[in-house]
Symmetry: C2
Subunit: 400 residues, 2 copies
């Protein structure tokens, strides 16, 4: 059987976008998928985008950075592929009606195009975290109203998605997100207080971007993932746990009230969750690397230490508070991580700054607004801006 879909990739030249197109190429060659690319969108990598466009021949290619449009057009000269640039063109590409849209633009810039794609009723393969954290309920409601669906692509939420039985959501005892534990998993709190930028960036398993590496070191990445999980799977904060699992082979688990725990495992390859999002509820055959547990040998687990990793409890309380607290937490964390990377604050200050920012915003009622589907984008942007201003005040107090 061949799975035929029209496809748009938002963020096609980033790591998830490249993995998506690689997977689709392999699945097409394998005979298990037929793919027609409707639109490709990239930020600044015009060379890669043009190469992808010449291979896949989409109806539209968009480069976010308008200064690169001429170069894109030159590279596509004679191909007949239409090229455009700028935020309006990104939204046009997102809303062109592809059956399956990979949302893989990084950061807050991904929010508007993801909502635009959701309005078309497409299957949204969601890699952009901000869409969920800043406007999760609104995004999911938008997709539902339009007859679409959101399928997560990051490994933890894809794992839960794969083993969560939709018929018995009420029978879930716990969602359990696994975490590598980052570079400071076995450090003392004192040592973490003295940790340098370089030490925090040295992730044991992955070579990632600086922001994500620091989030892994503070475990704020898991805090953010708890929020995503709560929205995606309509699960309250007190039923979402984090478990340290340094080998990152079990990507996450669901424990049911009958005592059964289901898990998804796999080698660290983004193409598997992407394949899952493409084909669900079917599976996409491609020459996938398999998991050889006999060769892996051993999987270990430990509970996270709340003293050394306060980010998890902070995220849980932001989630329980609801409203715009998760969006504010995300923005404050970005500001605090940037300050740490600039060597303006210590490692343990990162989460402390986020906590203080949330407290100050809460004290003046700035987190109370709920976002409905229509106003979600504006409210999220307003909250984001406020949180960055308050975080800057907190940081100024610390560093002066």
């Amino acid at each position: 059987m061949t799975l035929r879909r029209t496809v748009t990739v938002l963020g096609s030249t980033g790591s998830v976008g490249v993995s998506t197109l690689d997977l689709l190429e392999q699945a097409v060659a394998h005979g298990s998928a037929e793919v027609e690319i409707v639109a490709l969108v990239a930020g600044r990598n015009v060379e890669k985008l043009a190469e992808q466009a010449l291979q896949w021949r989409p109806k539209l290619v968009v480069i976010q950075d308008e200064s690169l449009l001429d170069e894109l057009r030159a590279r596509l000269d004679g191909s007949g592929v239409r090229a455009a640039a700028g935020p309006e063109a990104v939204l046009e590409a997102a809303g062109m009606g592809a059956e399956w849209v990979m949302s893989a633009i990084v950061g807050a810039a991904g929010l508007a195009p993801t909502l635009a794609a959701a309005r078309t009723g497409a299957i949204i393969a969601l890699a952009n975290k901000e869409s969920l954290i800043c406007a999760g309920p609104a995004l999911l409601e938008t997709a539902r109203r339009a007859g679409g669906v959101v399928i997560p692509v990051d490994s933890e939420h894809s794992a839960i998605f794969q083993v969560l039985q939709p018929d018995c959501l009420e029978r879930v005892a716990r969602l359990i997100l696994t975490a590598s534990g980052g570079p400071f998993r076995s450090w003392t709190r004192e040592a973490m207080g003295r940790a340098t930028r370089e030490q925090a960036l040295a992730h044991p398993n992955w070579n990632m971007g600086a922001k994500i590496s620091i989030d892994s070191a503070t475990m704020m990445n898991k805090g953010l993932e708890m929020i995503e999980a709560a929205y995606l799977f309509s699960t309250p904060a007190d039923r979402i746990d984090v478990l340290i699992h340094p080998q990152s082979v079990i990507h996450s688990l669901v424990e049911y009230q009958d005592g059964s725990t289901l898990a998804q495992l796999g080698p660290p390859d983004m193409r598997t969750p992407i394949a899952c999002a493409y084909a669900w509820p079917d599976r996409l055959a491609w020459p996938a690397p398999g998991l050889d547990l006999g060769a892996v040998g051993s999987l270990t687990f430990e509970p996270p230490d709340p003293e050394r990793f306060p980010s998890i409890a902070l995220a849980r309380s932001a989630l329980t508070a609801g409203g715009m607290a998760p969006a504010a937490m995300n923005a404050a964390n970005e500001a605090a991580v940037a300050a740490f990377l600039d060597r303006r604050i210590g490692f343990l200050d990162i989460v402390a700054v986020v906590a203080e920012t949330l407290q100050r915003m809460d004290a003046v009622g700035e987190l109370d607004t709920g976002a409905n589907a229509d106003g979600a984008l504006e409210i999220a942007m307003t909250t984001d801006g406020s949180a960055r201003r308050v975080a800057a005040e907190v940081l100024a107090g610390l560093t002066h």
Copy 2:
């Protein structure tokens, strides 16, 4: 929501039967199940059976051993519960039309009542292994024709059942049965050749019956489970693997062609797979013991050594040969294990006797018969008898 079912338990006083009634009692007390017991069947434990009958008030209780009927009647005097005995009464109980039938009679005696229950279109919660190994295709076809279904209850097959997506059976790369590895997991082949009855009975994790303990030591239990899995999940022998996992926390896994592996985990409690079989596709809430992976700490895995555990390859070839080879393998194994327990043969002789028995039967065409749904019971019994006779000849050759 309350799951209401009429229930019959075949083998109610054995370990699985007792766990079943305990689970149902707890689920009823929890408010998640409403249970009406139609019939209870036991072999010889008249005291326990009467106690269960007085608690649950079924329409019929049956003791297999006819000599115990008077005692059963005396114990039920005045209760109004009808008591009966003997094989015909067992079949009557199995066929009384309960919506859910636990098939937990041990050994070949479970085959006929399981088929009788399947003919009623009941949900069969299957703990009796012989029904599958000796007449798997016929049993499943009988259930399907009657509009019923067979749900496995042993931990490995329940695990696979829970993570096997019915819509994409063709996308399964491998079913992976986990195995504790038994008491000889790290022994040399030479040491295994000298292993005594006592050493073979000393299972590291479980206190089980002698036959099952020896099957665990030879890993023939996994060979038999491979056959069950092949029938239950319509999967060819070359897509079923065995993985040694001494902690027995991951009960089994399914690897898909997209690179994703799904697994079921849990504490060693039969009530969880029983609850799963009761409620599927829903889940039954009861005060289940949960799995605390942080406390477990470590899970290990290793491939089974084909030199020391030839039973797995033997089972795979019996499965590939098809016809009555699996039933013959099962009977020959029972005979060989009995001879080892009688100290008539060495430990490594067990699988050798089974292999030689299958070869001799194959050479004279005794394994070629396929069993259709109607003649399954007779053919299985004939094959069983032949295999025991041939195995006795092989054993005589070894021990004289």
